[in-house]
Every structure is written in structure tokens, then in C-alpha cells.
């Protein structure tokens, strides 16, 4: 009964979404006040309907209704409750429903929080979201129905994929999808403004917070996925340039570019057409990222969702959404009037440079990801493109981004001089240079450059705040007052830039990791990376739906003999799925990770893979800092989102803050 209700709710949502698309856009076109006023209600209605169907699916999972195929295939009676719930989106059908849920949530947030928007624009934005939503709900209904029944129901389900039975991955899809789908709002604004034929500073002001929120989610989602692959797959790496990983990196790159170009639209009314195009591209990449991966065109370690039969529908849908929006762009972009003149050396100039380089990186990653499937399709030749390709193309393009990142924020708008900006940053540059030279002495050229740039990013972000507060030049109390009056967006930007510096430092540290694979018997000791690793014992450990085998290791400092850590790497075999997973043991002190993965047992001993990974935690810590910077920036803008009336009120109180 409940699954049928869920299925009905999807159908209902699909119809509401169609109404939402047609009535809102047509109403806004005709200027019909009643239809325009109906748009938010329809968006909310669609969200409620999709939400109900999602709850119905979760309910079927929780009560283990194995007559629902989705539950029978990806859950079992023994699965812990948390994974009965999260297993809902750990498979193709469920994850598409989650995707639709978040898309309808985007429409609902515009309906609720978009009260300050001009009502016609809001109706158009909601209409565009409804159109996209309608397409994907139709796909859910026809090709990927999560409520398909099987009869007779099996006595027990096949269980969740053991690799996905992990808290890190349980929450990875919702956060990642919130990022992917969040860009739909920027996309809807772009398409709505193309229909309307008008983009102004207000457009930048509305689009930026939504983009920023999506960007924060995407940053967290990518970091969570990378962290999961680090500790769960047991391969000792954090990023494999896998097509699915690249698919999430692409919208992140163009989304970051959009975040910055929207600033230029907001402050200077320049780069308008470009920003609209970037919004369309970013959401197109998000769409392709989610669905192309699932169409079976790209194969990867995320093989859980490959199903070529759905490919045609998805490709057609992608063609309509992406092709349609680009066509609209080609037809309507000339209507938008460019404005705002600036010199090449200026804040705008730096942001343009940022955009060009980020898009160049995105293009390179896109080519590297798409080239192998196309070569296979056209020439029948199987090739692959891996880390060496991406290292030799992405790093040279990322270096100038990192160099310019410190400089950009201290340049003034419209026209700036390089020399004064450099003088303000002299100490950051000097420190980065010194660290780079010291690192070059011991570690080689590339790590030295990496550490130098990482420190440069952190210190130049700090230098910008010092400069804003006139710290050390005016009395401390005056500086304090100035810093307190700085908008949170300034702090957010500085923290975000510093966070990238921390992440880069972590990646460079990780490139210096050492590892060793050894067959060890209990009582034996292995020396690696300045530590002595001794295998103490091996024993069994039963779990709820798996059998475990655990090793106990004692790690001592090689020089002082001090006990550093006791580690318990293990293996789990899941009888139901006939699968074994590796349970990696990681001990961190913030500066380096000790990482042990357990292999096969052989002749009384066990194969251990030992890693010492310098600065590894910084990779994800930096991503968290970036996201915190984003949220901080967002909290500043909260009151200003499309609220012209309130802005007038604050303006009357007098400008207290120097222009950014």
C-alpha cells in the first residue's frame, strides 16, 4: 500500500511540475497576476509530493518490504537500521529520486525565501525549475521506478553493498547532490533572465548566494567522497581521477568561476553575458555528472549504477535541457547590453583571469575524461587517461591561479596598480619564498613550489585582512573597530582562499608519502618512515552481518622507542554478498597519518600495507575551511537576498563599511 502511494506521489509531482512550468512561464509572459501568484504554491506542492514519495521509499526500506524490488536488491533483514535508511539512496533508482527531491526543494526554497524577488522573475525561475523537474520525474516514472514490485517477494533481501555500509558514504550522496542540484537555481535565474532579456547588478546579487550555497555543499560532498575513498577503499590514495570524481570536479571548477564572475556582475555590471553562460554550463556539467555516469557511457569504480538501457532517455533529456538552454542563450544573449569598463590590471581583471584559468582547467579535465569513451566509440580502441595526464596538464594551469589568488583581493576595482598591491603583500611573498627555498633544498622542485604557493595563499588572505584593518599602522583599538565593521563576505573570501592553501599543502604533503607492503608474522617488526611497526596478534571479530579478522599493531618511534599508536586494521567478509572489504586503520596527529591496510593471511603471517602520509588530514580540513568561509559569506548576505526595502533602511544609517 505505502509503495503504491509513493508511486502515485511521483506521478502527482510530475503533473504539478508540468503545471508549474507551463503556468508560471506563460503567466509571467502574459503578465497574468493570478498565474504568477500561483507559481510558489505549485513549487511547494511539488516538493510535498516528491517528499512524500521519498518518505514512502524510506518507509519501505525501514520495514524491510522485500516485495519492493529496490529494497530486496539493496537491503536485507540483517542490515542495520541506519543503512536501511541510507541504502534508499545507495542505488540507482533511489538516488535519482533523491536528486528529484533536492530539485523540488530548490523550487520550494525560491518560493519561500524569494519573496523579495520581482514576482514575474520569481515565477519564471520557478517555471524553469519546474520544467527541469518534470523531465526528470518523468524519467523516474518511466525508466527508473523505485517502487517496482516483485512477486513472490524473496524471504530476505540481497543486502546493501558492503562498501556503502559506512557512515561517511551514507551522507555523501545527499550532500553531493545538494551541491549538484543547487546549481539549478543559478541555471534557472540565467534562463529566466534570458527569457526576460535583462541582466543587471541585482541578478548578480540574487544568483551569488544560491551559487555560494551550492558551492559549499559541492565542496563538502567532494571532500567527503575523497575522504571515504581514502579510508574505505584501502588503496592509500585520496583522488584517482576516476570519471565519477572528475564529473564532480567539473561543476566545482565552473561553479567557482561563476561565484567570482557573479561578484563582477553585482559590483560592476560587467561580465553579464559570460556569467549567464557560466551558470548554464555549470548546471549542464552537474546534470551530465549525475546522469552520464549512470548511463553506462563512462565506467569507473562507481559501477553500482551502470545500466545502458536507460542511456537513451537520459541522453535525450540532457540534450533537451542543455541544448535548449544553450540555444536560448544564442538567441537571446545579444539582447543583454554589456556595461562596465575596466583596465586589465584591476579587481575585475583578476577575476577575469580566475575565470579563464578555472575554465581552462575544467576544459582539460573534461577532455581527459571524455576522450577515452569517444575514442572507443569512434575507433573501437580502448585507452585510458590517468594521473600522469592530469598531473601534467592541471598543475601548470593551477599554479597561476594560486599566484593570482593572493593578489586579486588587494587590487582595487576598475583600475589598479600592481606595485602598491605587491608592496602590501611583501611579507607574505617573502615568507612563501623562504619556505619554498627551504623545501626545495630537501624535497625537490614541485613539492617546494606547492608548499610555497600554499603558504602564499594562506598569508596573502591574512595580509588582505591586515590591510583592511590597517593593523599595525593605526592604534589597535581603531584596527579592531575597522575589522569588526568589515562585512562577513570579506572574512568569508579570505577564509575560503586560506582553506584552499591548506588543502594544497595537504596534497603536496600526500605526494611525499612513503609506503611498503610486507608479509609480517606476529612478533615481527617492520621499519618505515621513522617508525617501527610491530604485529602483536591476529584474531577474529564477528559483526552483525559480517565476519571480521583483525590485526593488532604496535607502532613505536624508531629513534626514541616511544609508543606512538596501537592500530587495528581488519578485513570484513560479508557472506550474503560474498564480498570482502578492507577495514583500514588510520592514526593521525594532525601532521601525518599512519595508515595500515590488511591483506591476505599466508603461512601464519599477514600481508600488511603500511603508509606514512604527511599532512594528509589537511586535504579535507582545508575543504572544510573553504566551506566554512562560504557559509560565513552567506550569513552576511542573508539579509540582503532580494530585499531592496531593507537595503534602503540600512543605507539610510550611513555607509559604515568601505566598498569591497
Amino acid at each position: 500500500m505505502i509503495p503504491e502511494l509513493g508511486h502515485f506521489a511521483i506521478a502527482l509531482a510530475c503533473v504539478i511540475a508540468a503545471a508549474q512550468a507551463v503556468l508560471s512561464i506563460w503567466g509571467a509572459h502574459r503578465g497574468d497576476a493570478r498565474l504568477i501568484a500561483a507559481a510558489p504554491a505549485l513549487a511547494l506542492g511539488q516538493f510535498i509530493a516528491v517528499g512524500l514519495s521519498f518518505l514512502a521509499l524510506v518507509w519501505s526500506g525501514v520495514v524491510s518490504d522485500f516485495s519492493v524490488m529496490n529494497v530486496a536488491e539493496y537491503s536485507s533483514a540483517l542490515t542495520p537500521l541506519l543503512y536501511k535508511i541510507t541504502g534508499t539512496w545507495g542505488n540507482h533508482e533511489g538516488s535519482i529520486l533523491l536528486w528529484c527531491l533536492i530539485l523540488s526543494l530548490c523550487g520550494a526554497t525560491i518560493a519561500v525565501f524569494g519573496r523579495g524577488l520581482p514576482s514575474a522573475l520569481r515565477a519564471r525561475v520557478i517555471g524553469v525549475l519546474g520544467a527541469v523537474s518534470c523531465g526528470f520525474l518523468l524519467f523516474t516514472l518511466t525508466a527508473s521506478d523505485p517502487f517496482n514490485r516483485i512477486w513472490p517477494p524473496p524471504p530476505d533481501g540481497q543486502g546493501v553493498n558492503p562498501l556503502l555500509q559506512d557512515p561517511g558514504l551514507a551522507f555523501h550522496p545527499p550532500i553531493l547532490y545538494a551541491g549538484y542540484v543547487g546549481f539549478s537555481i543559478a541555471f534557472a535565474f540565467a534562463v529566466a533572465s534570458l527569457i526576460e532579456g535583462r541582466v543587471d547588478a541585482a541578478w548578480g546579487r540574487w544568483v551569488r548566494p544560491w551559487t555560494l550555497a551550492a558551492w559549499c555543499f559541492l565542496t563538502c560532498g567532494i571532500a567527503l567522497g575523497s575522504w571515504w575513498s581514502y579510508y574505505e577503499l584501502g588503496w592509500g590514495g585520496y583522488w584517482f581521477w576516476d570519471p565519477v570524481e572528475n564529473a564532480s570536479l567539473l561543476p566545482w571548477l565552473t561553479g567557482t568561476a561563476l561565484l567570482h564572475s557573479a561578484i563582477v556582475v553585482e559590483k560592476r555590471e560587467a561580465l553579464k553575458i559570460w556569467s549567464v553562460l557560466l551558470a548554464i554550463i555549470t548546471f549542464s556539467l552537474s546534470l551530465s555528472g549525475t546522469f552520464l555516469v549512470r548511463s553506462g557511457l563512462l565506467n569507473s569504480v562507481h559501477a553500482f549504477a551502470n545500466d545502458p538501457t536507460r542511456g537513451i532517455f537520459i541522453l535525450a533529456l540532457l540534450g533537451i535541457v542543455i541544448g535548449g538552454s544553450l540555444l536560448l542563450f544564442a538567441l537571446r544573449a545579444p539582447v543583454l547590453v554589456p556595461a562596465g569598463i575596466f583596465a586589465p590590471i584591476s579587481r575585475e581583471g583578476a577575476l577575469v583571469l580566475n575565470n579563464i584559468l578555472l575554465c581552462a582547467i575544467a576544459a582539460v579535465v573534461l577532455v581527459g575524461t571524455m576522450y577515452p569513451p569517444f575514442v572507443q566509440l569512434l575507433f573501437g580502441q580502448q585507452i585510458s587517461v590517468g594521473k600522469p595526464f592530469f598531473d601534467s596538464t592541471v598543475i601548470p594551469l593551477a599554479a597561476p591561479v594560486m599566484a593570482a589568488m593572493g593578489l586579486g583581493p588587494v587590487l582595487s576595482w576598475k583600475r589598479a596598480a600592481l606595485a602598491p598591491a605587491l608592496i602590501r603583500l611583501w611579507w607574505a611573498a617573502l615568507a612563501a619564498l623562504v619556505v619554498g627555498l627551504i623545501a626545495a633544498h630537501g624535497l625537490g622542485a614541485i613539492p617546494a613550489l606547492g608548499f610555497g604557493f600554499a603558504l602564499w595563499m594562506v598569508l596573502s588572505a591574512a595580509a588582505e585582512l591586515v590591510e583592511r584593518g590597517r593593523l599595525f599602522r593605526v592604534p589597535l583599538s581603531v584596527s579592531w573597530a575597522r575589522l569588526r565593521q568589515l562585512p562577513r563576505a570579506s572574512y568569508g573570501a579570505a577564509i575560503g582562499h586560506a582553506g584552499l592553501g591548506v588543502t594544497v599543502a595537504g596534497m603536496v604533503g600526500m605526494s611525499l608519502a612513503v609506503h611498503s607492503i610486507q608479509l609480517v608474522k606476529p612478533g615481527q617488526t617492520v621499519a618505515l618512515g621513522g617508525y617501527r611497526w610491530m604485529l602483536v596478534s591476529l584474531h577474529d571479530q564477528p559483526g552483525p552481518n559480517w565476519m571480521g579478522r583483525v590485526a593488532t599493531l604496535q607502532v613505536n618511534d624508531a629513534a626514541s622507542g616511544r609508543l606512538v599508536a596501537i592500530m587495528h586494521p581488519g578485513k570484513r567478509s560479508f557472506p550474503l554478498q560474498q564480498t570482502t572489504t578492507t577495514d583500514v586503520s588510520i592514526k593521525t596527529n594532525g601532521l601525518r597519518d599512519l595508515y595500515v591496510a590488511m591483506g591476505d593471511e599466508r603461512g601464519g603471517g599477514v600481508v600488511l600495507r603500511l603508509h606514512v602520509n604527511p599532512l594528509a588530514p589537511w586535504i579535507w580540513f582545508g575543504a572544510l575551511i573553504m566551506a566554512i568561509g562560504g557559509w560565513l559569506s552567506l550569513s552576511d548576505r542573508r539579509l540582503r537576498i532580494g530585499a531592496p526595502l531593507r537595503r534602503v533602511a540600512t543605507a539610510r544609517r550611513g555607509p559604515v563599511v568601505p566598498a569591497e
Binding site: N161, L163, L233, W235, N299, V301, A303, F304, I341, F342, A343, P344, G349, V352, L353, I356, L357, C359, A360, I361, A363, V364, V367, G368, Y371, Q376, Q381, Q382, I383, S384, V385, G386, P388, F389, S392, T393, P396, L397, R415, S516, I517, Q518, L519, V526, K571, Q577, Q578, T579, T580, T581, T582, A597, G599, D600, R602, V607, R609
Partner: protein
């Protein structure tokens, strides 16, 4: 700064950015692309020693031997395409949990001067009945297996020259 000058600057910057991106991509394509080969391709094309490629096929029955060099575990195994071509491979490290004789395998590595394949990475996949898509496509091309007709043929069917390799 006129509008025209600005546009020129932006165009120059775009050209530089995307020009260097193209140059980097092309240069990386000449050196960093990894080809996929079946044992038969390896025996006819003789890839240069040291040039990285991916070797795919089935692990020949009776060829998998665990080895031990200076306390570091490794393995030797034969990779076959079912047409009697077998490439001997060696790997220093821990094989993935699902690595078995008679199953599909994809390994990254290069040939050594004496004609062995030295794997630097043996790709792991998530489930027991998983067939690497490259291997699946290659098998289909060689008319060894059509996935539409069911599970891959039993491991013994691949065994053409496995025993010889294990003996030698």
C-alpha cells in the same frame, strides 16, 4: 581604456589561457595516454619496454603463484585471452580481495626487457561476479563470450595454455 582595448585584452588572455591548455593537453596526449591491450595484442605488437599500458584478460587457470621477495609479498600469474595467448605477469604487492584464477583482470604496468609484464597496479572492482568492461568488450569482439547469454564461460574453458605456463 576603451571598450575595444578591453576586449582585446580579454581576448589575448583567453587565447593565452586556452592556448596553453591545448598545448598541455596535446603534449600529455602523446606521452601519458595508456592503451588497453589483450595478451594477443601484446604478443603481436611488442610494446616498448617501460611504456605503460593496461593489460586485460582472464587470469589463466593454474598459473597464480604467490611469491616473496625480501619479505615483500608478490604474485606471478598468466593473463590469457582464451585464444592460446598468455602473457606472464608479475606483481609486487597485495592482490585485490577479489583476484582469482579464471576471473577477469585489468592490470596497469609495462613490459620488462625479458618479455614479462610487470604490473604496478592491479585494478580491483567491487563485486565478485564483476567483469571489467574492457575485458567484456574484448571478449565479445573475440567471440568468446556474449554477456546476453549469461555468465562468462567457466574458468576451465580459458585454460588453453595455462598448464604449460605453470609447468614452465
Amino acid at each position: 581604456m576603451t571598450r575595444k582595448r578591453r576586449r582585446l585584452w580579454v581576448l589575448v588572455a583567453c587565447g593565452l589561457g586556452f592556448g596553453s591548455a591545448t598545448a598541455l593537453t596535446l603534449s600529455a596526449f602523446t606521452s601519458d595516454i595508456v592503451f588497453f591491450m589483450l595478451p594477443g595484442d601484446v604478443l603481436t605488437k611488442h610494446p616498448a619496454p617501460g611504456r605503460a599500458f593496461r593489460l586485460g584478460g582472464m587470469v589463466a587457470e593454474g598459473t597464480l603463484k604467490q611469491t616473496m621477495v625480501d619479505g615483500a609479498p608478490g604474485a606471478v600469474f598468466g593473463v590469457t585471452d582464451g585464444h592460446g595467448h598468455v602473457v606472464p605477469a608479475e606483481y609486487q604487492g597485495v592482490l585485490p580481495d577479489l583476484f582469482r584464477e579464471g576471473q577477469g583482470v585489468v592490470a596497469m604496468g609495462a613490459m620488462t626487457p625479458d618479455g614479462d609484464f610487470r604490473a604496478t597496479e592491479v585494478l580491483a572492482k567491487h563485486s565478485a561476479d564483476y567483469m571489467p568492461p574492457e575485458v567484456e568488450a574484448a571478449l565479445k569482439k573475440n567471440h568468446m563470450w556474449n554477456p546476453a547469454t549469461g555468465a562468462p564461460p567457466p574458468a576451465a574453458a580459458w585454460n588453453g595454455t595455462g598448464a604449460k605456463l605453470a609447468g614452465g
